[in-house]
Subunit: 302 residues, 2 copies
Amino acid sequence: MSDSSATPPTIGVFDSGFGGLTVLRALIGKLPRARFAFLGDTARLPYGSKSRRTIARYAVESAQFLVKEQGAEFLVIACNTASALALNAIQEAVPVPVLGVIEPGATAGRAASQTGDVLVIATDATVQSHAYAAACKAQGLRALEKACPLLVPLVEEGWGDPSSVFRAGSETSAAQATSAPPQVAVTAEVIRIYLNELATDAAAEGLKPDTLVLGCTHYPLLRTLIESAVPEGMRVIDSAESAAEAAARLFNGRAKSRGTIDIDWPTEIRCFATDSVEKFERLGSRFLGRPVGTVELVDLGG
Amino acid sequence: MSDSSATPPTIGVFDSGFGGLTVLRALIGKLPRARFAFLGDTARLPYGSKSRRTIARYAVESAQFLVKEQGAEFLVIACNTASALALNAIQEAVPVPVLGVIEPGATAGRAASQTGDVLVIATDATVQSHAYAAACKAQGLRALEKACPLLVPLVEEGWGDPSSVFRAGSETSAAQATSAPPQVAVTAEVIRIYLNELATDAAAEGLKPDTLVLGCTHYPLLRTLIESAVPEGMRVIDSAESAAEAAARLFNGRAKSRGTIDIDWPTEIRCFATDSVEKFERLGSRFLGRPVGTVELVDLGG
């Protein structure tokens, strides 16, 4: 029997920027009746160019804000770099369960792959950490990773798909909006070049990949273009989706034990950022698939 | 009469990253017999997403390192964002002359333009500061600025020109190197899209621009592609070149008064970075047009 005065647990979601909103979007899809607190550490991004020690310090401070100040009862690290380099440090620093995005991505890869060979595309920092290769190996998979540094800026510029190609807030004529935008053709060509290079490298190593893991929170916004570019029959895995499934199992266990599993609670989202609130509000809705609302500025120091 | 035991003055060159090496390259072209100390504050880049106060603090710390620890007798701020937001703060903080890149760019624009209307392409942060528009207005020019956020990542990915399209250190077959690379076609198309948008906006505002100012230290690496994309007769101004000319006048005045103007001194370059020394060494030579040698790691704190 549920306690109608109780509230569902709060899920803290953390990213270095706002790309992790694609993970929040997937979480909302699985858990529409939950409360979410999302923090983007936008003042200190990108984490990719920084040392492991610095990334761990930033990520721990961010995690502590979500747990101590927002009452998060578990955390999803919606940032591949932080998942790759700081998951253990965060798990040691906070007294709640912490999920990253990399292990769920590898698990989903194992479920999808028949050949046991998977491809992973990600940012430079994530690839250099080889965290996906290690997680895949632990699952008995062979993985080939490739950095695709242009994809994040292409998404952030709004060149990813026809619906978001014109910058939010700019005036767009109906004629412009319905013509095939050359911006999208550029992005499709960049994806084709990267995937061709990856296929060549895979063949050279004797791999027979049948699965592609999207190892960056920005890439789900390119999913349609990526699916058009992969060979017939190749599965495309979104690690945001896989992480959301793992988080939903954890959340439902917690909600059941508290008796809030059946209460009718509307999706509640609070977004926080450490800088650049305006850019977060402007671009965030494209990642979240709904308005992000007012983003609250927080100061974590440093 | 020159004092052969004397050494030429040291010129300190500062950037948030290594893009400013294009300014150093231009300086070496004008001043082959000088000593240079270059600092890239790579641990804290990009400056573009940070507040004016934070940028000023970082830039002042960097300038003080060059003056106090490297004995620089004047400084060139080879970073458009720092020039736009922190030039005054640096000038107040160090006892040596300090040159930015924006005013020389506007001066060169005035010299080149017949119509008095110029276009400026730059990063988001530089455009948002409207520092070029203000500097151009002070010269009696009308300027239209446009942010081109994809150009920096395209240069850093090595997709800018045929000679640098394959990543340094990777094996490249002769067949690959001589075929027309699709990567360069992507960059050419991105430039065409940006410049078309800019031309449309300029026409809508009734401007008749005949000059394009490259307001980012990465863009000189795209100069050939940009020159192919602008209308017949449009002048392309590299603010790195203009800043180097202004610096050379200052340097020669100083060297003359010291009696070192005629001594035969080989070009001497020391490069420092606050993080990511490996990436600096790997990509820097593409910007400098010669090997950067060993890059020394310095800790400026914060």
